[in-house]
């Protein structure tokens, strides 16, 4: 049995320990906010926080999630919206929106470690998250807006 915490709730998993965390979240817990985009950690759509670190859940086997605290978009903010989500709405970032959950989780982790990231730091951190609709310009603006709000 693998024990872990997901969005603050204790969970135990008795299935295949090689199953990626993404599919446990989506198919077993039915938390569908985290998305499947590439399955090999190249697009970032599946990004969640594991012990506070932005992590690609599609390449994280359940055995590596044992004993960890996992936060998904569903648990990012208990009360209302996280500043990053508010900034995303204010700047009107999403188009199709499919990648945005991963983008938001990545951005939230960035702002936890860097209060005022530079353009270069934003680009370096966010380069792992693909947006095919091409909302990057607004993502950069929204991260700056959220950084302003969070300080």
């Amino acid at each position: 049995m693998i024990q872990l915490k997901v969005n603050g709730v204790e969970q135990s998993f008795g299935g295949e320990p090689e199953m990626p965390l993404l599919w446990y979240l989506r198919d077993v817990l039915r938390l569908t906010g985290s998305k499947f985009g590439c399955g090999v950690g190249l697009c970032g759509a599946c990004t969640v926080h594991v012990n506070g670190q932005a992590t690609r859940s599609c390449v994280t086997p359940m055995r590596d999630a044992a004993g960890k605290e996992v936060t998904t978009i569903e648990g990012l903010e208990r009360n209302g919206l996280h500043p990053v989500q508010r900034a995303w709405m204010e700047i009107n970032v999403p188009q199709c929106g499919y990648c945005q959950v991963g983008q938001i989780m990545q951005a939230a982790a960035l702002l936890n470690s860097k209060k005022k990231p530079t353009d270069q730091e934003i680009d370096e951190t966010m380069a792992g998250n693909i947006c095919r609709c091409g909302t990057y310009q607004r993502i950069r603006s929204a991260i700056k807006a959220a950084a302003g709000e969070m300080t």
Binding site: D27, K35, G37, L42, N129, G134
Partner: protein
């Protein structure tokens, strides 16, 4: 688009209770109802007390239900069309609830493709809103005993100013439902000065759901008892399973069974590709089981397809006379005279859509009916193909449309939805088919690979005295008839037949090419390669003539005039030439404006930097773009700035439109930098984002400025038209920065590094 007609009739609620006095104004229900007298799928708009249109209903609590009948993949059609209804109704947007339509002919066309949602439904949406406003106003006037002409509406209420009376839409709904539906000619549409939303726009109705993970895409659809499927498709188009062994696959924990799917018959169209499906308790188990399948394939005739050889074939074809699609004067006679001639070959490879959400669909076949939940751009095509595949009536195919995690044209082709339906019928359970990214890249309907031969004779001032252009590409209709090899008017019109230049001798040709993969629509479609060929060749000629590319381009566009297509097959994107003439003055204007906005000729560009310009009309919208690039000593290309000006006629949602053009610059960046799909022995070489890279945040334009021309012309497209001029302008900018001409996409072949 179907016309709205008056169909005042009784309506049946679920359960068969006759609702008296309710009104239906709408497109006639052409299909027979599937069970008893019930409408098969009432929307809340159908059920509402005042059901003024198939698109609209109003309840006594003042809730306005608006049906979004076209798919939402990020362009905001789901928000912007209802916004037009709400404006004409004079409704409070905060009291509007949008519901997504299933696939159903009564809504008219639902294929959300070709950048025409607003263009084709702007009038219908206004009529729907105006009809309800008319009836509500009549109801208030009757209650107050005043002439309706003295009443007006004011944000969700009817008012009579002189007696200071006011009644909300909710209070009036029941009385209004008893009135006759007005004829179309009785409707008075709002004056532009009274518009609340049109031209101002709104953010997506789903915005909060999109940032909280609550939005439901096809990938997120679920029903009780569903199982998951992953399908191993024939690696070569048209291939078949010779034999297979699933013993190891069935040993994988969670795998339930394997199911063969028949290969498509004749041409692929939207049929499933065939192969072996692995059915499992969760997605991952299905993926794992699939890896353990042992399949022997008969690859069929497309096994001979190799991209390198194919490229040479296309080029060879383009170097010989082809079918003439439009001709002015006698270009050959000019070429025969000798003098300065400039020639070039342009090439754009196959491109994959790579929407962030791979193909996915959930199907439940039960009691002779199929219910589907799918991220589809085209739910009526889902009804067609599923009814054929399962041998049931089209009315027994219920297609719910989820949000789409990107579409770009791929999700207009419902092969993956048909696959889910077939598997549900074969397994007797609800089945969710999930394609991997590898499936998505390898089994796409690709944007056609194209080779273009360009030739011009240059006169004394450097202006062409004769111009010849030949394109050769496997055409989209080949998916319906494999023997189709010439471009069809619907795709030749896309920036090829309609070369807008003012030239005395112009010949436009198209040559044959046989398809070996499925070819399909991808954002901007044939405009991508056609604009690339024409707009980059124009830039070449400008440099050859020693002229400024902007002046040269304006000179070729010439004076404002309407292009005459007499004797030429030019479908004009399905729009009338009267409502949407091809006006060179509008192309000229956006070109002049983008020059001004970008500071063309006024800003200094040092070593390794440069700007490029291109102008193009597609989907009835005129766009000009200037791209600025920097190329460093390592050959790394950066894009500090993009300026783009568009004239799309009336723009309902400017904010969403700007977003579309920002996104188009990113989509175009992927095409120019890295976009290339190739095949070896009929098998696609690429598989995921490591070998089919798409642009990331550090590779895209740093700043894209979008300017919208204020226009009262009828609305045109905005989802696609940004891509073609961006691609060409980017190529021209690289030449300006490096002296290396981009003729062969992507630029990985240019040897910059």
């Amino acid at each position: 688009m179907s016309t709205i007609e008056n169909v005042s009739r009784r309506r049946f609620l679920a359960g068969g209770v006759v609702a008296a006095g309710a009104l239906v104004l709408g497109v006639r229900y052409y299909h027979k109802l599937s069970s008893g007298d019930q409408l098969p799928h009432n929307t809340n708009a159908d059920r509402a007390t005042l059901h003024a249109s198939v698109y609209l209903g109003i309840d006594p609590d003042g809730t306005v239900w608006i049906v979004a009948h076209r798919s939402e993949m990020g362009t905001t059609s789901r928000t912007t069309l209802p916004l037009v209804v709400a404006d004409e109704l004079d409704a409070d947007w905060k009291r509007v609830k949008i519901e997504q339509a299933i696939g159903d002919k009564r809504y008219g066309d639902q294929n959300t493709d070709g950048s025409h949602s607003i263009r084709s439904f702007y009038d219908a949406m206004r009529q729907a809103g105006a009809t309800a406003r008319f009836m509500l106003t009549q109801a208030a006037a009757q209650q107050w005993g005043v002439p309706a002409g003295e009443c007006e509406t004011d944000l969700h209420a009817v008012v009579h100013r002189s007696t200071n009376r006011r009644a909300g839409y909710g209070e009036l709904a029941t009385a209004a439902a008893k009135l006759a539906v007005p004829k179309r000619e009785e409707l008075k549409l709002k004056a532009k000065s009274a518009w609340r939303y049109i031209g101002r726009g709104q953010v997506s109705y789903d915005l909060e759901a999109l940032v909280t993970g609550k939005a439901i895409y096809g990938m997120d659809a679920q029903v009780d008892g569903m199982v998951y499927a992953s399908v191993e498709h024939p690696p070569v188009l048209g291939g078949k399973v010779k034999s297979y062994d699933d013993k190891e696959a069935l040993k994988v924990a969670g795998v339930r069974q394997t199911v063969p799917i028949d290969p498509f018959q004749q041409a692929p169209a939207f049929q499933p590709l065939g192969g072996i499906a692995v059915i499992a308790d969760n997605t991952w188990a299905a993926f794992q089981g699939r890896k353990k399948l042992n399949i022997s394939w008969d690859n069929g005739p497309n096994e001979t397809y190799n991209s390198d050889a194919y490229k040479n074939e296309l080029r060879e074809t383009s170097h010989n006379p082809c079918k003439v699609v439009r001709n002015i004067g006698d270009a050959d006679a000019v070429f025969a005279k000798g003098g300065k001639v400039h020639e070039a070959d342009y090439y754009v490879p196959l491109l994959a859509h790579a929407s962030m959400e791979p193909m996915v669909a959930l199907a439940e076949f039960k009691d002779g009916k199929a219910t589907l939940w799918a991220p589809t751009q085209n739910p009526q095509a889902v009804q067609d193909i599923v009814s054929k595949e399962l041998g049931i009536a089209k009315e027994d195919v219920i297609c719910h449309v989820t949000l789409l995690g990107g579409g770009f044209g791929r999700k207009s082709k419902p092969d993956y939805v048909a696959e889910a339906a077939v598997l549900s019928k074969k397994t007797g359970r609800p089945v969710k088919v999930v394609w991997t990214r590898e499936d998505d890249i390898k089994f796409d309907y690709y944007n056609a690979v194209a080779s273009m031969y360009m030739k011009a004779a240059l006169g004394a001032n450097g202006k062409p005295t004769a111009w010849l252009q030949r394109s050769v590409f496997p055409p989209i209709p080949s998916i319906f008839d494999v023997n189709t090899v010439y471009g069809d008017p619907a795709h030749l019109q896309q920036g090829w037949t309609d070369n807008p230049y003012d030239l005395p001798n112009l010949r436009i040709e198209n040559g044959p090419a046989k398809a070996h993969v499925r070819i399909g629509w991808l954002r901007s479609v044939a405009n991508i390669y056609h604009a690339f060929g024409i707009q980059c060749f124009t830039d070449e000629l400008a440099h050859a003539a020693g002229r400024d590319p902007l002046d040269y381009l304006l000179n070729l566009i010439g004076n404002p005039r309407t292009i005459d297509f007499k004797g030429v097959e030019y479908p004009n994107y399905g729009a009338s030439m009267d409502a949407y003439p091809w006006e060179t003055g509008r192309l000229r204007r956006v070109t002049e404006m983008v020059a001004e906005k970008s500071g063309w000729g006024k800003r200094k560009h040092g070593k390794g930097t440069g700007v490029g310009i291109a102008a193009h009309r597609s989907f009835l919208t005129y766009v000009a773009t200037v791209v600025e690039v920097e190329v460093n000593d390592q050959g790394e290309v950066r894009i500090p700035r993009v300026d783009t000006v568009l004239d799309a006629g009336l723009v309902v949602n400017p904010e969403a439109t700007r977003a579309q053009f920002e996104g188009a610059a990113v989509f175009g960046t992927s095409i120019v930098r890295t976009g290339e799909i190739t095949a070896t022995k009929g098998v696609i070489d690429q598989s995921n984002f490591q070998d089919y890279p798409v642009a990331r945040i550090n590779e895209v334009p740093k700043q894209t400025n979008v300017y919208i021309v204020d226009s009262d012309a009828p609305p045109a497209g905005v989802g696609e038209p940004g891509v073609p001029p961006f691609v060409a302008a980017f190529g021209n900018a690289i030449f300006a920065a490096t002296g290396k001409r981009v003729r062969d996409l992507p630029i990985t072949k240019l040897g910059l590094s």
